[in-house]
Symmetry: C2
Subunit: 186 residues, 2 copies
DNA sequence: GGATAAACGGATCGCCTATCCGATTAAGGG
DNA sequence: CCCTTAATCGGATAGGCGATCCGTTTATCC
């Protein structure tokens, strides 16, 4: 890979910065809109990010990396149940705090390899933590590995349906997750 | 209200029928598309249904009525826990079987008065069943009335995220609801 | 400073929602 | 049966957004 030309790198940063701002203020990403706000032509934006999904995943990448890092630390926790529930709590909190994360998590067809890689990593860690908790007898055996992500997305979605303001979301999400976790215990 | 002219009534039926078919085959509703398939002008479709939401709610109305009817019967059930869990099961099953219901349920800003009315009725029944189950000591006290609909939508959403084919959905949804219900018991 | 490939930017297409208004047709009285 | 009229029809059209294309500009390297 030849490095990006200087102006291209600068514009890439501008685009991602603007996109992050839009996501944070709850505005849906629109590439024409991003181009206008970044003071660039639409062509430029579309060359860097062929679809809205691609830009969304790029914006979400740092958050996915943070989650993966937290997961790696969770693997060192001695208490299987605590590690598991704490990890799930982080996943849910991240999703309700960041709409880009919620969308990327729910979408199973990634456009960027990096996204696939990070999601795979996050899922693998979750599976491992679940296995440990199950072995320790703390979790019902009928919860499949493939259920973790859908359930986290479901809780995040329920929180969005419930809450009018973003500020309400965190406590609501925690309450919903607590209920779910109680249902998972033996 | 003067009754509709004969041709208007015929076209209304055609539109709703076509829309129901589209929803059933999983195609997203598009009013131009509906007009073409129904052999009508776009103007006609938009006069009957000013927005896509309005048509979607009209399509969902019979299902909402069925749910309300089931709820009324559930109120006569002697076993509070059975009545409650059975009602929630019906709500979830309906949502995962019918995308129009899922969307209408998650959307809090209805366009048709009839939709508001039916949803209110369904929520009221759920609240009542929850109160009885709580009084009977079968349900944890920290579940609020306003949580019922979001949680049902969350489970339906989790099911959509999990399942590739519509056929997989019902068992998955039941499994998720079972887990949630277990978390709700005292 | 000139050659060249990379990047830029906006005109433009295709699709969808939604509106508007002249043409058409159903409904009711003479 | 026809005429009036108001309701309805239907397609042309505006406006927004995703996405593409291509002539122009600019960074980079020698």
């Amino acid at each position: 890979m030849t490095p990006l030309r200087k102006d291209a790198a600068r514009n890439w940063d501008r685009i991602v910065t603007v996109a992050r701002e839009l996501v944070d203020e709850g505005t849906p990403l629109q590439l024409n809109d991003v181009a206008r706000r970044a003071g660039l032509g639409v062509g430029t934006v579309y060359r860097h990010f062929p679809t809205t999904e691609a830009l969304l995943e790029t914006v979400a990448t740092p958050c996915l990396e943070t989650l993966a890092a937290h997961g790696t630390k969770a693997l060192e926790d001695d208490n299987p149940w605590h590690a598991f529930s704490d990890y799930l709590t982080r996943l849910v909190e991240a999703q309700v705090s960041d709409p880009s994360l919620a969308k990327v998590s729910a979408n199973s067809h990634d456009t960027l390899p990096r996204t696939t890689e990070l999601k795979h990593q996050i899922i693998t860690i979750g599976t491992e933590l679940l296995a440990r908790a199950r072995t320790a007898g703390a979790v019902r055996p009928d919860l499949a590995d493939g259920d973790l992500v859908p359930l986290m997305c479901g809780i995040a979605y329920a929180t969005y349906v419930h809450s009018d303001t973003p500020a309400d979301r965190l406590p609501t999400a925690r309450r919903y997750l607590d209920t779910l976790l109680r249902g998972l215990t033996t």
